[in-house]
Protein backbone atom coordinates (compact mmCIF):
# COMPACT_ATOMS: atom_id res chain seq x y z
CA UNK A 1 0.00 0.00 0.00
CA UNK A 2 1.33 3.38 -0.95
CA UNK A 3 -0.16 5.22 2.02
CA UNK A 4 1.96 4.88 5.12
CA UNK A 5 -0.49 4.42 7.99
CA UNK A 6 2.22 5.06 10.58
CA UNK A 7 2.67 8.49 9.08
CA UNK A 8 -0.93 9.37 9.94
CA UNK A 9 -0.68 7.63 13.33
CA UNK A 10 1.63 10.45 14.40
CA UNK A 11 -0.45 12.98 16.38
CA UNK A 12 1.16 15.96 14.65
CA UNK A 13 0.27 14.90 11.11
CA UNK A 14 -3.11 13.60 12.19
CA UNK A 15 -3.87 16.95 13.77
CA UNK A 16 -3.34 18.69 10.43
CA UNK A 17 -5.27 16.08 8.44
CA UNK A 18 -8.29 15.98 10.76
CA UNK A 19 -8.49 19.77 10.76
CA UNK A 20 -9.06 19.67 7.02
CA UNK A 21 -11.58 16.81 7.21
CA UNK A 22 -13.91 18.09 9.95
CA UNK A 23 -15.82 20.69 7.87
CA UNK A 24 -16.48 18.11 5.15
CA UNK A 25 -17.90 15.56 7.55
CA UNK A 26 -19.75 18.18 9.56
CA UNK A 27 -21.52 19.86 6.66
CA UNK A 28 -22.42 16.63 4.89
CA UNK A 29 -23.91 15.42 8.19
CA UNK A 30 -26.09 18.54 8.39
CA UNK A 31 -27.22 18.22 4.75
CA UNK A 32 -28.01 14.51 5.04
CA UNK A 33 -29.92 15.06 8.30
CA UNK A 34 -32.14 17.62 6.57
CA UNK A 35 -32.71 15.28 3.61
CA UNK A 36 -33.31 12.28 5.90
CA UNK A 37 -35.81 14.12 8.08
CA UNK A 38 -37.59 15.46 5.00
CA UNK A 39 -37.95 11.93 3.62
CA UNK A 40 -39.00 10.65 7.02
CA UNK A 41 -41.61 13.28 7.79
CA UNK A 42 -42.92 14.31 4.38
CA UNK A 43 -42.22 11.62 1.81
CA UNK A 44 -42.56 8.36 3.74
CA UNK A 45 -46.15 7.07 3.92
CA UNK A 46 -48.19 6.47 7.06
CA UNK A 47 -47.72 3.00 8.53
CA UNK A 48 -50.59 0.52 8.26
CA UNK A 49 -50.72 -0.30 11.95
CA UNK A 50 -48.79 2.37 13.84
CA UNK A 51 -50.03 5.39 11.91
CA UNK A 52 -47.80 8.46 12.21
CA UNK A 53 -46.17 7.39 15.46
CA UNK A 54 -43.79 5.04 13.68
CA UNK A 55 -41.91 8.05 12.28
CA UNK A 56 -39.77 8.14 15.41
CA UNK A 57 -38.00 5.18 13.79
CA UNK A 58 -36.01 7.64 11.67
CA UNK A 59 -34.23 8.79 14.81
CA UNK A 60 -34.55 5.74 17.04
CA UNK A 61 -32.99 3.12 14.78
CA UNK A 62 -29.99 5.16 13.52
CA UNK A 63 -29.26 6.18 17.14
CA UNK A 64 -29.49 2.57 18.34
CA UNK A 65 -27.23 1.36 15.51
CA UNK A 66 -24.67 4.05 16.30
CA UNK A 67 -24.76 3.29 20.03
CA UNK A 68 -23.65 -0.27 19.32
CA UNK A 69 -21.32 0.49 16.43
CA UNK A 70 -19.43 3.26 18.23
CA UNK A 71 -18.82 0.89 21.12
CA UNK A 72 -17.29 -1.69 18.80
CA UNK A 73 -15.06 0.97 17.23
CA UNK A 74 -13.97 2.08 20.72
CA UNK A 75 -13.15 -1.52 21.61
CA UNK A 76 -11.23 -1.87 18.32
CA UNK A 77 -9.09 1.21 19.05
CA UNK A 78 -8.62 0.02 22.62
CA UNK A 79 -7.31 -3.35 21.45
CA UNK A 80 -5.01 -1.71 18.88
CA UNK A 81 -3.73 0.67 21.54
CA UNK A 82 -3.03 -2.12 24.03
CA UNK A 83 -1.25 -4.26 21.44
CA UNK A 84 0.71 -1.65 19.48
CA UNK A 85 1.07 1.07 22.14
CA UNK A 86 -0.08 3.70 19.67
CA UNK A 87 -1.00 6.89 21.49
CA UNK A 88 -3.48 8.03 18.90
CA UNK A 89 -5.58 4.85 19.18
CA UNK A 90 -6.39 5.52 22.82
CA UNK A 91 -7.22 9.11 22.03
CA UNK A 92 -9.65 7.93 19.31
CA UNK A 93 -11.31 5.66 21.83
CA UNK A 94 -11.68 8.50 24.33
CA UNK A 95 -12.99 10.85 21.67
CA UNK A 96 -15.78 8.47 20.66
CA UNK A 97 -17.19 7.66 24.10
CA UNK A 98 -19.31 10.81 24.72
CA UNK A 99 -20.97 10.50 21.30
CA UNK A 100 -21.65 6.81 21.93
CA UNK A 101 -23.25 7.63 25.27
CA UNK A 102 -25.31 10.37 23.59
CA UNK A 103 -26.66 8.00 20.94
CA UNK A 104 -27.42 5.34 23.55
CA UNK A 105 -29.37 7.90 25.54
CA UNK A 106 -31.26 9.05 22.43
CA UNK A 107 -32.08 5.42 21.54
CA UNK A 108 -33.45 4.77 25.04
CA UNK A 109 -35.33 8.05 25.21
CA UNK A 110 -36.98 7.83 21.79
CA UNK A 111 -37.70 4.17 22.55
CA UNK A 112 -39.61 5.20 25.66
CA UNK A 113 -41.53 7.84 23.72
CA UNK A 114 -42.37 5.22 21.12
CA UNK A 115 -43.18 2.46 23.61
CA UNK A 116 -45.83 4.38 25.51
CA UNK A 117 -48.30 4.91 22.64
CA UNK A 118 -47.57 1.59 20.86
CA UNK A 119 -46.90 -1.01 23.55
CA UNK A 120 -48.63 0.79 26.37
CA UNK A 121 -45.53 1.20 28.56
CA UNK A 122 -42.61 3.64 28.74
CA UNK A 123 -40.29 0.94 29.90
CA UNK A 124 -40.27 -2.84 30.31
CA UNK A 125 -37.44 -5.00 31.61
CA UNK A 126 -37.12 -7.17 28.54
CA UNK A 127 -33.72 -8.37 27.30
CA UNK A 128 -33.34 -5.76 24.53
CA UNK A 129 -34.14 -2.72 26.65
CA UNK A 130 -32.17 -3.92 29.66
CA UNK A 131 -29.02 -4.71 27.67
CA UNK A 132 -29.19 -1.31 25.95
CA UNK A 133 -29.44 0.33 29.38
CA UNK A 134 -26.34 -1.63 30.45
CA UNK A 135 -24.60 -0.18 27.38
CA UNK A 136 -25.33 3.34 28.64
CA UNK A 137 -23.90 2.42 32.06
CA UNK A 138 -20.81 0.98 30.35
CA UNK A 139 -20.22 4.22 28.45
CA UNK A 140 -20.64 6.26 31.61
CA UNK A 141 -18.46 3.86 33.60
CA UNK A 142 -15.63 3.97 31.05
CA UNK A 143 -15.71 7.79 30.91
CA UNK A 144 -15.74 7.94 34.71
CA UNK A 145 -12.74 5.59 34.87
CA UNK A 146 -10.79 7.76 32.44
CA UNK A 147 -11.67 10.85 34.43
CA UNK A 148 -10.68 9.22 37.72
CA UNK A 149 -7.12 8.27 36.66
CA UNK A 150 -4.83 11.27 36.41
CA UNK A 151 -1.98 9.59 34.54
CA UNK A 152 -3.13 9.55 30.87
CA UNK A 153 -1.22 6.38 29.97
CA UNK A 154 -2.55 4.37 32.90
CA UNK A 155 -6.04 5.74 32.31
CA UNK A 156 -5.84 4.78 28.66
CA UNK A 157 -4.99 1.17 29.46
CA UNK A 158 -7.56 0.79 32.23
CA UNK A 159 -10.30 2.31 30.07
CA UNK A 160 -9.37 0.15 27.09
CA UNK A 161 -9.53 -2.97 29.24
CA UNK A 162 -12.99 -2.10 30.57
CA UNK A 163 -14.14 -1.27 27.03
CA UNK A 164 -12.97 -4.68 25.78
CA UNK A 165 -14.65 -6.57 28.62
CA UNK A 166 -17.89 -4.68 28.01
CA UNK A 167 -17.82 -5.44 24.27
CA UNK A 168 -19.52 -8.76 25.00
CA UNK A 169 -22.69 -6.76 25.66
CA UNK A 170 -22.99 -5.58 22.05
CA UNK A 171 -23.84 -8.97 20.46
CA UNK A 172 -26.17 -9.58 23.40
CA UNK A 173 -28.08 -6.37 22.58
CA UNK A 174 -28.18 -7.15 18.89
CA UNK A 175 -29.30 -10.77 19.17
CA UNK A 176 -31.48 -10.38 22.29
CA UNK A 177 -34.64 -10.19 20.19
CA UNK A 178 -33.68 -13.48 18.52
CA UNK A 179 -32.38 -15.45 21.50
CA UNK A 180 -35.19 -14.67 23.90
CA UNK A 181 -38.79 -13.63 23.48
CA UNK A 182 -38.94 -9.91 24.11
CA UNK A 183 -41.56 -7.20 23.86
CA UNK A 184 -39.26 -5.38 21.45
CA UNK A 185 -39.86 -6.56 17.89
CA UNK A 186 -37.16 -8.18 15.77
CA UNK A 187 -34.89 -6.36 13.34
CA UNK A 188 -36.56 -4.84 10.26
CA UNK A 189 -33.25 -4.46 8.50
CA UNK A 190 -30.45 -7.02 8.70
CA UNK A 191 -27.79 -8.56 6.53
CA UNK A 192 -29.43 -11.96 6.41
CA UNK A 193 -32.87 -11.11 5.04
CA UNK A 194 -34.69 -8.62 2.87
CA UNK A 195 -35.77 -5.50 4.79
CA UNK A 196 -39.36 -5.69 6.01
CA UNK A 197 -40.30 -2.10 5.39
CA UNK A 198 -41.44 0.01 2.46
CA UNK A 199 -38.56 1.23 0.29
CA UNK A 200 -38.99 4.96 0.91
CA UNK A 201 -39.09 4.36 4.68
CA UNK A 202 -35.91 2.32 4.41
CA UNK A 203 -34.18 5.03 2.36
CA UNK A 204 -35.09 7.68 4.93
CA UNK A 205 -33.72 5.53 7.73
CA UNK A 206 -30.48 4.77 5.90
CA UNK A 207 -29.92 8.45 5.03
CA UNK A 208 -30.34 9.29 8.71
CA UNK A 209 -27.93 6.50 9.63
CA UNK A 210 -25.27 7.84 7.25
CA UNK A 211 -25.83 11.33 8.66
CA UNK A 212 -25.27 9.92 12.16
CA UNK A 213 -22.02 8.34 10.98
CA UNK A 214 -20.75 11.59 9.48
CA UNK A 215 -21.74 13.54 12.59
CA UNK A 216 -19.93 11.01 14.77
CA UNK A 217 -16.76 11.23 12.68
CA UNK A 218 -16.84 15.04 12.74
CA UNK A 219 -17.25 15.40 16.51
CA UNK A 220 -14.84 12.54 17.28
CA UNK A 221 -12.16 14.19 15.14
CA UNK A 222 -12.82 17.49 16.87
CA UNK A 223 -12.38 15.85 20.28
CA UNK A 224 -9.26 14.00 19.15
CA UNK A 225 -7.69 17.28 18.09
CA UNK A 226 -8.34 18.74 21.51
CA UNK A 227 -6.85 15.66 23.16
CA UNK A 228 -3.78 15.83 20.90
CA UNK A 229 -3.15 19.48 21.81
CA UNK A 230 -3.59 18.71 25.50
CA UNK A 231 -1.22 15.77 25.52
CA UNK A 232 1.40 17.19 23.17
CA UNK A 233 1.45 20.61 24.79
CA UNK A 234 5.16 20.29 25.59
CA UNK A 235 6.21 19.50 22.06
CA UNK A 236 7.71 22.02 19.67
CA UNK A 237 5.02 21.74 17.02
CA UNK A 238 2.20 22.58 19.46
CA UNK A 239 4.20 25.51 20.85
CA UNK A 240 4.79 26.75 17.33
CA UNK A 241 1.08 26.37 16.60
CA UNK A 242 0.08 28.37 19.67
CA UNK A 243 2.54 31.16 18.90
CA UNK A 244 1.28 31.54 15.36
Amino acid sequence: MAINLYYYASPATFYQLSGKLIPWFGWSAVILTVIGLYIGFFMAPTDFQQGEAYRIIFIHVPAAWMSMFIYLVMAFWGAIGLAFKTRLSFMMSRALAPTGALFTFIALWTGALWGKPMWGAWWVWDARLTSELILLFLYIGIMALWAAIDDPQRGDRAGALLTLVGAINVPIIYFSVKWWNTLHQGASVSLTKAPSMAKIMLIGMLVMAIAAWLYTIAVALYRVRTLILERERNTDWVKALVEK
Partner: protein, 148 residues
Protein backbone atom coordinates in the same frame (compact mmCIF):
# COMPACT_ATOMS: atom_id res chain seq x y z
CA UNK B 1 6.61 -13.91 17.65
CA UNK B 2 6.74 -10.18 18.18
CA UNK B 3 5.69 -8.76 21.51
CA UNK B 4 2.75 -6.86 20.03
CA UNK B 5 1.44 -9.95 18.27
CA UNK B 6 1.69 -11.86 21.52
CA UNK B 7 -0.29 -9.11 23.21
CA UNK B 8 -2.91 -9.08 20.45
CA UNK B 9 -3.30 -12.84 20.84
CA UNK B 10 -3.60 -12.49 24.60
CA UNK B 11 -6.39 -9.94 24.12
CA UNK B 12 -8.07 -12.32 21.69
CA UNK B 13 -7.90 -15.24 24.12
CA UNK B 14 -9.18 -13.08 26.99
CA UNK B 15 -12.12 -11.89 24.86
CA UNK B 16 -12.96 -15.46 23.86
CA UNK B 17 -12.87 -16.41 27.56
CA UNK B 18 -15.26 -13.59 28.46
CA UNK B 19 -17.50 -14.67 25.60
CA UNK B 20 -17.68 -18.24 26.87
CA UNK B 21 -18.35 -17.10 30.43
CA UNK B 22 -21.12 -14.78 29.22
CA UNK B 23 -22.66 -17.57 27.15
CA UNK B 24 -22.69 -19.91 30.17
CA UNK B 25 -24.14 -17.30 32.50
CA UNK B 26 -26.84 -16.30 30.03
CA UNK B 27 -27.65 -19.95 29.45
CA UNK B 28 -28.01 -20.50 33.19
CA UNK B 29 -30.40 -17.58 33.49
CA UNK B 30 -32.28 -18.53 30.32
CA UNK B 31 -35.61 -18.91 32.07
CA UNK B 32 -35.32 -15.48 33.73
CA UNK B 33 -34.42 -13.71 30.50
CA UNK B 34 -37.61 -14.55 28.66
CA UNK B 35 -40.08 -11.71 28.84
CA UNK B 36 -43.17 -13.87 28.54
CA UNK B 37 -44.34 -17.46 28.31
CA UNK B 38 -46.42 -18.83 25.45
CA UNK B 39 -49.71 -20.61 26.22
CA UNK B 40 -48.04 -23.90 25.23
CA UNK B 41 -45.27 -23.33 27.76
CA UNK B 42 -47.88 -22.55 30.41
CA UNK B 43 -49.75 -25.76 29.55
CA UNK B 44 -46.51 -27.71 29.93
CA UNK B 45 -45.99 -26.23 33.38
CA UNK B 46 -42.92 -24.16 32.47
CA UNK B 47 -44.41 -20.93 33.84
CA UNK B 48 -43.89 -20.14 37.53
CA UNK B 49 -46.79 -21.03 39.77
CA UNK B 50 -48.00 -18.92 42.67
CA UNK B 51 -46.49 -15.67 41.42
CA UNK B 52 -47.20 -13.18 38.67
CA UNK B 53 -45.72 -13.77 35.22
CA UNK B 54 -46.37 -12.68 31.65
CA UNK B 55 -48.03 -14.57 28.88
CA UNK B 56 -47.61 -13.64 25.25
CA UNK B 57 -49.23 -14.61 21.98
CA UNK B 58 -51.91 -13.45 19.61
CA UNK B 59 -55.33 -12.15 20.58
CA UNK B 60 -57.65 -14.81 19.20
CA UNK B 61 -59.93 -13.45 16.47
CA UNK B 62 -63.47 -12.84 17.73
CA UNK B 63 -62.54 -13.45 21.37
CA UNK B 64 -62.52 -9.87 22.70
CA UNK B 65 -65.64 -9.28 24.80
CA UNK B 66 -66.31 -6.21 26.89
CA UNK B 67 -68.16 -7.22 30.03
CA UNK B 68 -71.58 -5.66 30.75
CA UNK B 69 -70.10 -3.80 33.74
CA UNK B 70 -68.12 -1.73 31.21
CA UNK B 71 -64.86 -2.08 33.12
CA UNK B 72 -63.64 -5.60 32.54
CA UNK B 73 -62.66 -6.99 29.20
CA UNK B 74 -62.16 -10.64 28.37
CA UNK B 75 -60.10 -12.07 25.55
CA UNK B 76 -58.18 -15.20 24.65
CA UNK B 77 -54.41 -15.33 24.14
CA UNK B 78 -53.35 -18.06 21.76
CA UNK B 79 -50.20 -19.39 20.09
CA UNK B 80 -52.44 -21.38 17.71
CA UNK B 81 -51.62 -24.61 19.62
CA UNK B 82 -52.92 -23.71 23.09
CA UNK B 83 -54.90 -20.76 24.37
CA UNK B 84 -55.55 -19.05 27.70
CA UNK B 85 -58.58 -16.90 28.58
CA UNK B 86 -57.64 -13.54 30.08
CA UNK B 87 -59.65 -11.03 32.08
CA UNK B 88 -58.37 -7.47 32.37
CA UNK B 89 -59.49 -4.27 33.97
CA UNK B 90 -58.00 -1.08 32.57
CA UNK B 91 -57.07 0.80 29.44
CA UNK B 92 -55.90 -1.27 26.49
CA UNK B 93 -53.09 0.06 24.25
CA UNK B 94 -54.06 1.43 20.83
CA UNK B 95 -52.42 -1.44 19.00
CA UNK B 96 -54.41 -4.04 20.93
CA UNK B 97 -56.36 -5.83 18.20
CA UNK B 98 -57.74 -9.24 17.44
CA UNK B 99 -55.20 -11.32 15.56
CA UNK B 100 -52.31 -9.12 16.76
CA UNK B 101 -49.58 -9.70 19.31
CA UNK B 102 -50.16 -9.12 23.01
CA UNK B 103 -48.27 -9.55 26.27
CA UNK B 104 -50.27 -9.71 29.52
CA UNK B 105 -48.85 -9.68 33.04
CA UNK B 106 -50.82 -11.23 35.86
CA UNK B 107 -51.69 -14.40 37.72
CA UNK B 108 -53.11 -17.67 36.54
CA UNK B 109 -56.06 -18.78 38.63
CA UNK B 110 -56.74 -22.41 39.52
CA UNK B 111 -59.71 -22.26 37.15
CA UNK B 112 -57.34 -21.55 34.24
CA UNK B 113 -58.42 -17.91 33.94
CA UNK B 114 -55.52 -15.44 33.72
CA UNK B 115 -56.20 -12.21 35.62
CA UNK B 116 -54.05 -9.52 34.01
CA UNK B 117 -52.83 -6.40 35.80
CA UNK B 118 -51.16 -4.98 32.69
CA UNK B 119 -51.72 -5.56 28.98
CA UNK B 120 -49.09 -4.54 26.43
CA UNK B 121 -49.34 -4.66 22.66
CA UNK B 122 -46.52 -6.39 20.81
CA UNK B 123 -46.16 -5.28 17.21
CA UNK B 124 -44.01 -6.83 14.51
CA UNK B 125 -41.10 -5.40 12.54
CA UNK B 126 -43.06 -4.77 9.33
CA UNK B 127 -43.62 -1.22 8.18
CA UNK B 128 -45.62 -0.38 5.08
CA UNK B 129 -48.29 2.02 3.84
CA UNK B 130 -51.93 0.95 4.48
CA UNK B 131 -52.51 0.35 0.74
CA UNK B 132 -49.65 -2.15 0.63
CA UNK B 133 -50.98 -3.90 3.72
CA UNK B 134 -54.43 -4.06 2.11
CA UNK B 135 -53.01 -5.49 -1.14
CA UNK B 136 -51.04 -8.07 0.84
CA UNK B 137 -54.18 -9.09 2.70
CA UNK B 138 -56.12 -9.47 -0.56
CA UNK B 139 -53.34 -11.56 -2.08
CA UNK B 140 -53.30 -13.80 1.00
CA UNK B 141 -57.06 -14.29 0.84
CA UNK B 142 -56.85 -15.14 -2.87
CA UNK B 143 -54.13 -17.68 -2.14
CA UNK B 144 -56.22 -19.27 0.61
CA UNK B 145 -59.20 -19.72 -1.68
CA UNK B 146 -56.96 -21.37 -4.28
CA UNK B 147 -55.60 -23.78 -1.68
CA UNK B 148 -59.11 -24.62 -0.55
Amino acid sequence: MKARHKKLMLIGIALAGIGIIAALVLNAFQSNLVFFFSPTQVAQGEAPTGRAFRIGGLVEAGSVKRQPDGINVKFVVTDTAKSIPVVYQGILPDLFKEGKGVVAEGKLGSDGLFTASQVLAKHDENYMPPEAAHALEQAQKAQETIVK
